[in-house]
Amino acid sequence: MKKLFAMFLALAMALTMMSFASADDVTINFWYWADNDAYSQTMQEMIADFNATNGKGITVVGQEYPWDGGGYSQNLLTAALGGGAPDVSTFKLTATPSFTNNNLLANLDDLIANWEDKDQINENLYTTMKKASGTDSIYVMPWNTQVLYVYYRPSMFAEAGVSVPTTYEEFLDICAKLTRDTDGDGKTDVYGFGMRGSNGGQEPWGCFLYAGGGDFEHMDSEGAIKGMQDYIDLYKNGYAPETAPNDGFSQVIDNFKSGLTAMTIHHIGSSAQMMELFGDDVDAFIFPQGVGRWTSMGDTETVMFDSCQNKEAAFEWMAYLATGKGQETWCTVTGNVPVAARVQALPQFQENRFMKVSIEGSPVAGILPVLDTTTQWIADWPATIQKALLGETTAEECMKTLQAAMWEE
């Protein structure tokens, strides 16, 4: 009997220990995209670092997917609707309504309220996150941002006798002056502006919309139509390559790198390759003030899914990315703008000229309205703009179409 009791006791102890162990060892499934091999490698190293150092038995299992021009968000939504959501995923703010409308995301209010690092992130960012969900709650955790600015070649500016524009009108003026026939064969060799008329072009185009006097809420206003007309005129007057309607990200960057264009709009993510190619002969400025001023804040966040069983453990990983070691590592490698004040103050960020421009642009940086029509609006933007660039529609017709697509039910 004693033997039996001892065996029972030992078994009970073993089971208790096992249950403690399983309660402590938590696995968090994490989905992310990486734009290149270096980013992929960095993320894997960050996951390994977190797993080794968190001291709470949390194991993050990373699963990488391609960004696929935004296809990532759609695949994530499809997976979540089908019951296959990860615990945590990297995220774009514009996708928020699709997820919150389907009640897929975890409310982070309490976790953030009790988080010791919550003040490291500017209150404005939390406000933007709340706006995206259309509620007073936070469902999306800030991670890093990229502010769009204008890349330019100082040597080309010197050759054309122009300086960095301080107003929108000056910007339009130098687009013309920088467009040049450099070898005297009667054909344009350098275009003033590298225009992006294909996928993703809505963000640089937004600078013209605001500078003309419009905004995303009133895209059919007189100012907005003027901004669109300026955009069309840049193309029709030959200050942008003829390929512009079909040019996407890689084309505008390649055109700038080859010297075909003197200016183009992108964020700090391209700065490393620009500096590698041009050294000091590349610099940047924030799109100048017109009637209004706006630039796009490219954003990357993380979200936790409501189906996550270990929300506190998942939040540990999100916090590591937002204000911890992960924030510093990721922003150092990618050159993205950190959201944590402590990391922003580090020398490697303060001494980078492109980072300085990004931080300078932050006060005027914003995002597209986050509505349930936004995904379709973004998908339809290239065709709508291309019709205007190619003379099929007027600036006014184009802007009325865009306004209706965004705001009409």
């Binding site: 759609q74 699709s98 389907n102 996928n199 291309q386 190619l390």
Partner: protein, 296 residues
């Protein structure tokens, strides 16, 4: 006795053997088609889950009033007629060449298959670079030959974008026609040509009175298959122009793909059903001939 023979007649074994294939067919073909039919009568936009529900024929009515849809339908016809037509023409010519004996014919036959075995996305990228308006080799060659004075932005102009993607799909599909027709050519008895020669037929007459009539079934079946494949093809156009500029290369399949990608599944399903019906009409002669042959 009669009961015994009935029992003998009913044997479950063949049905069990067929069951796995039938279950797979049912789950991956029939159920999705049924789902697509069902969704085509619904507001089924995943970005607006609160507004989901049946709208009867709302999507079909919207389709008829959607100039992008009617434009895409017309461009699908152009895409298929010129794409498949070009593939047939050049495939036929290639098959005739490869049917002749010449030194290195084996290598030529193998090399001619390259476009067919190359993934569509890769083909699209390759041709995008060749058609590139700033750095493309096609502009470079034409300028060196003094055929054009200035570079042409082939993929950014409405008048050149569609011909560019059609040239690409023709290049991709030539080997399929060549291979099928070559197999057909090798099945034509030599004595038909001898008889034609004795009757004094010229090369052209042999082509039109012996070769083509003998290949009628091969040409018919191959063309039908390519019509269906090319009409449904998305990869080349999507990767070269994304349907642009200004929708000038947006075929129905590309439009459906883009709508589905932006999660408007209801409207995308309705258009997919429309495309299926159009292709069914085109496929009826093929199906008829297939079943007629089976019957014979």
């Amino acid at each position: 006795m009669e009961l015994k023979s009935r029992r003998k007649r009913f044997n479950i074994y063949p049905y069990l053997l067929l069951a796995p294939a039938l279950i797979i067919m049912l789950s991956v073909v029939i159920v999705p088609i049924f789902n697509a039919f069902n969704m085509s009568f619904m507001n089924y936009n995943l970005t607006r889950p609160n507004k989901m529900g049946y709208n009867n024929f709302g999507n079909y009515v919207k389709m008829l009033n959607d100039s992008d849809f009617t434009g895409a339908l017309w461009r699908t016809v152009v895409w298929v007629v010129f794409g498949v037509g070009g593939q047939f023409l050049f495939g036929f010519m290639l098959a005739l060449i490869l049917n002749k004996y010449f030194r290195g014919r084996g290598v030529a036959r193998a090399v001619s298959l390259i476009p067919w075995v190359t993934p569509g996305v890769l083909i699209a990228l390759m041709w995008s670079w060749m058609f590139d308006g700033n750095y493309g080799v096609i502009n470079d060659l034409l300028m060196k030959l003094h055929l054009i004075d200035d570079k042409i932005a082939y993929l950014a102009r409405k008048d050149t974008a569609m011909p560019s993607v059609i040239i690409t799909i023709i290049w991709q599909g030539i080997p399929f026609f060549a291979l099928m027709i070559l197999a057909g050519l090798q099945g034509i008895p030599g004595d038909l040509y001898e008889a034609a020669a004795i009757d004094g037929a010229t090369g052209i007459q042999k082509l039109f009175y012996v070769t083509i009539p003998s290949l009628r079934n091969t040409i018919f079946v191959t063309t039908m298959l390519r019509v269906i494949w090319v009409a449904n093809s998305v990869d080349v156009i999507f990767n070269m122009t994304n349907g642009g500029p200004a929708n000038s290369t947006q075929t129905l399949a590309v439009y459906v793909y883009k709508k589905a990608s932006s999660l408007d599944m209801g409207y995308a399903s309705a258009m997919a059903i429309a495309l299926m019906l159009v292709l069914l009409v085109a496929a009826i002669p093929y199906l008829k001939s297939t079943f007629a042959e089976k019957g014979a």
